[in-house]
Assembly symmetry: C2
């Protein structure tokens, strides 16, 4: 299907990461296959986390083993250390598993230490070791969190983020994601930073990942689109985000709702390549899996009728 943008559906990983109740593997697997059937090219499937720390992803290998390979679909798994990459490689060698992995750094020292439990330099050494091990086997995505502002340090220097992106490129990653982890981005900053990166790192696919902490997710996605970005992350129902209000900036910290992003883009004439007829049915199942009302306005109100016109 012809598409102008490539969305990555983050429900199953970023969305569920801090979900207290374990979601059955079969439920996750069903939803992920529905995401693929809707037309998502990129799907965050799981994380090779330590099961003792993140029990939600204790089923990572089991889940990935159930997912049939689909032409043109990338299943992404998050990897926190070399041990995680080894697990991803073992699954890949077994003929299933993720074909895309993501490696994470924080743009601020304080956020790195609190969120990753490592200094930035320690984390860069960790990422370099992971990238070396993974190179050539997976599509690699480097993610830079708090790229547009840090809840502890405030403003983040644009040059730091550009340096981080270059460093990822030197490690052989294929794409770099800029994360607005606690919703501090403003549209000018989004355009400024992405325009610099599009110019300075033309070899990288650039991905926008905004959280809707302050309701600005769609504003910033439009700003990124105008700057030339074509890869966008979102999650059905706007799920996700860190539940610790004190440490992570508080309040609603979830992703931008896929339903709302798709409705907006399609109403702008930006083709997402997704099956709009089935979108809200999948939205309903995502809500049902968590057993509570989620945060999508479009799930409650329906797609913009003007998005459905030819």
């Amino acid at each position: 299907m012809t598409r102008d943008v490539i969305l990555c559906e983050c429900y199953a990983r970023d969305g569920l990461q801090h979900e207290a109740r374990f979601i059955d593997t079969s439920v996750k697997a069903d939803l992920i296959q529905r995401f693929a059937a809707l037309g998502f090219e990129r799907i965050e499937a799981t994380s090779y986390s330590n099961p003792a720390v993140v029990p939600q992803f204790a089923d990572a290998s089991e889940l990935l083993a159930t997912l049939p390979r689909r032409e043109g679909v990338w299943y992404k798994a998050t990897c926190a250390n070399v041990r995680a990459v080894e697990r991803a490689l073992a699954d890949l060698d077994a003929g299933h598993g993720a074909n895309e992995i993501s490696l994470l750094v924080s743009a601020s020292e304080s956020h790195s230490q609190r969120n990753l439990k490592r200094t930035r330099e320690e984390q860069w050494r960790n990422v370099a070791a992971m990238a070396e091990r993974a190179h050539g086997r997976f599509r690699m995505v480097g993610t830079i969190s708090v790229a547009f502002g840090c809840p502890f340090e405030g403003r983040v220097d644009e040059a730091t983020v550009v340096d981080d992106a270059r460093r990822f490129a030197e490690l052989g990653v294929d794409a770099v994601t800029l994360g607005d982890t606690t919703g501090m981005a403003a549209p000018q900053a989004v355009q400024g930073l992405f325009r610099v990166l599009l110019r300075e790192c033309p070899q990288l696919a650039l991905v926008a990942h905004f959280h809707d902490t302050r309701g600005t997710g769609l504003v910033n996605y439009v700003a990124a689109l105008e700057a030339g970005v074509r890869y966008f992350d979102s999650a059905f129902g706007g799920v996700g985000g860190h539940p610790d209000k004190v440490k992570y900036g508080g309040g609603h910290t979830g992703n931008v709702a896929t339903e709302d992003l798709v409705s907006l883009f399609e109403s702008m004439g930006v083709r997402t390549g997704l099956d709009l007829q089935q979108l809200l049915e999948v939205s309903r199942l995502c809500q049902q899996a968590l057993g509570r009302e989620l945060h999508s306005r479009v799930a409650a109100s329906g797609l913009n009728p003007l998005a459905l016109r030819p």
Copy 2:
């Protein structure tokens, strides 16, 4: 205070219009005075509706009588017919009352007949009679609803909206508001229509009034700002909208949350002229008055820290 944009706080009228429980006059009066103290130049205070039809505004005159005149603050009342204008004039002659009134048309025939119970031409005759009676006594605002799309007819012709704005101008109104009543606007349509009106009707103040039915309110406010619009409507907590899901497009139909709009604009360096220190305290009181959690993300998450920097 220096400001780049002029926000109108719509909580007390558009916000409460369909609220089932009557909010005490003293509570409304207290909130409206707090809005003025925060720095709002324009405040939707009430509606001279038929109390039998809209009991929430049965206290219109009583409420307005409690509001002290403040230099540079406009209290707006909605008027549906000449009888309502007569009531507004009687209050004004008594030394209190609204100093701004709004007159409403729908850009689509179907919406006019369902929402206003009159054909468009009948409503224009009604509006002309109101404007004639009110002229010179009030600042008059003409509002065009479903200006960016109608839930019954779909796309609305730009030329219809431009004609309506000209017609309002001929009747002597000072400002024209374009309403995105059920959240169907896309940013290009917003920019296109406002740019035409700014060029064609330079004598009019142009106001953007977007509902957040599909989460696109802030996107469209940024689009309007970029087009040159300087007047924006919002309501604390994103309250408001029509509760009839079947007839009016359904789901969440409220206003854009003032808290979220202010946080976004200030983070963009767009000065709202409002007291940011007190904003969330007033937000809390607006929520308390309705006794339920409202729809502002910023009320839950706090202002963007980057909005608070010098």
